[in-house]
Symmetry: none
Subunit: 353 residues, 2 copies
Amino acid sequence: MIKTLIGNKDFIESLRGKKATFMLAMSNTKTADIEGITQAGIPGLIHLTPTLDSEFICSGEVRSLEDIAKTPKGVPTPALITRAVHLLSSFGRIELLNLGMEVAPKVKYFKQHSFDIKPSHRIDTNAQIAAETLFQRGVEFGEAYICKDEYIILGESVPSGTTTAKATALALGYQAQNYFSSSFKEVPHSIREETITKSLENITQNDTIYDKLGKVSDNMLIFNAGFIYGLNNRVEIVLAGGTQMACVLLVLNSILKERQTTFDTSNIALCTTRWIAKDKHSNIKALLEMLDFPIQAYYASFDFSLTTHPALKLYDEGEAKEGVGAGAALIYASLHGITKEAITRQIESFLIS
Amino acid sequence: MIKTLIGNKDFIESLRGKKATFMLAMSNTKTADIEGITQAGIPGLIHLTPTLDSEFICSGEVRSLEDIAKTPKGVPTPALITRAVHLLSSFGRIELLNLGMEVAPKVKYFKQHSFDIKPSHRIDTNAQIAAETLFQRGVEFGEAYICKDEYIILGESVPSGTTTAKATALALGYQAQNYFSSSFKEVPHSIREETITKSLENITQNDTIYDKLGKVSDNMLIFNAGFIYGLNNRVEIVLAGGTQMACVLLVLNSILKERQTTFDTSNIALCTTRWIAKDKHSNIKALLEMLDFPIQAYYASFDFSLTTHPALKLYDEGEAKEGVGAGAALIYASLHGITKEAITRQIESFLIS
């Protein structure tokens, strides 16, 4: 069930049976308002996706809308996968990181870390993020954070986050033109590429790393790079995601280089889905190999071969791939002895009603 | 598996996967010696029920008698349910609260909190409880108590406890005549009502709240109201029971009103069984709605539809409903991914031998 992408199995095996805190980092970028740029959500209500995702993984209910976020083709959010795992072999707790949301989730009793961060702007016209301050907030959060379980799983829900991630990597000088994923099977290159190209035109030669991030990135990428830096390797952390989480590491890598400092990354791994690992339109391994520090990465071999539900089959066809920590959740399930059959049935139970 | 009776799902969902300390509050009232007033135990040996219940949930054995407590019709104690859950997805620990028992349980290594409290007397002739002192002991226990798990499940085992609970609520002035449950399907109204009526005749106009409690209540109700007050909302507590636990809250409510003090109850919930939630002879929801503070309440949808065992079927027929924290234990199982099927088979295994 667990496949190694980079490194060896020991890190992930050492977490077998251990409880994790599942933390969901959420932010909105107005980049998602560009028509047709993402299919991670309901057209016109894309900004609600992280709100609904977090409500669903916590409570099993979507409260800020009647129905759970679906893509236009009817691909259900990967939050279904994460919730199913939580029901079958629960996380130690779920905590929410509000990194600039249009609408805060309507859940009580779950720890919500808020920092009074505003949603970021469209990258084609300048995201206007105070990147250095935001990174520093992440650092301070990481320094102060006390994990009440044995390790952290850090997922994300950021609509159009792969677009901002790609722009970020390119702005930072990584040769990552063909490596970024998308929530689409057939990526609408024109809109997305046009947006990225425009965003990069705003970068000038004198821009510092933080100037660049402030123009083309998103809150999740910057804050989480700081969070990881602030944790300083003192607790194991699984970055639960695909190319966006790889980009968090690229941001961290660039900042470490700029600061000319070394950093122990032995307690960091990235965990994703097979849909990302085997995606022909992106290359997460290539992204991770650009890092100057060693990293370990894994993916869950889980697929929807045991279901006949057409909406779920779309995952196997490449229409949705990752998000809301789905890949790491599937690995967590595997580390707790939960079968593919059980996960499939649990996910189906959310859809058949 | 988990249904909401009052409030929303968030409190109980936030406990998903977390370990709880299961605490069993036990006391004897000589009210149970009144012939025919309860079927929670073996005739002539009713006073042993909490002793046997606690021995069984801790060790899987009954030590102070050859056989586990059964009602005259052969309904087995709900301790079977709680023990089954503990075997399938264990509590963090079990602790025992001896609030005045005829016979202390024969278990070692399990924390037994003892306070040198004596069993209370028959309420028809005056229970003779030093109620204010007892409440204060509960407060001090709550103030000092350190929970070693993430939350507390507080169950009870008090034979004829619904009789003393009803008398208590009425003595405190709640219009609760038709709201209290009983271990019987066909409640022997004459004996029970006669006892309650007699007990209330001892109440005089000048009685303080503690005078009233001292005459008609039981140790469990008074101590636990103090315990909750002393905890002061600093740790989540699930009151595991039916109308008796609702009465604990009514006692607390009256004391808060008398003291003219406010109290944060956001970390308190009541969890019970479907047999209580759907009982036509009682109304736990109405009891909880009499409280001046907000409370959240849930019940386990578990029933014995998956068994053919006649003794267990009696639960679905209304002959036993709750006790020894059974409802909260079933919810705990659900929060740890245990199926109805698994619970049913485990409970059956105690009976078929």
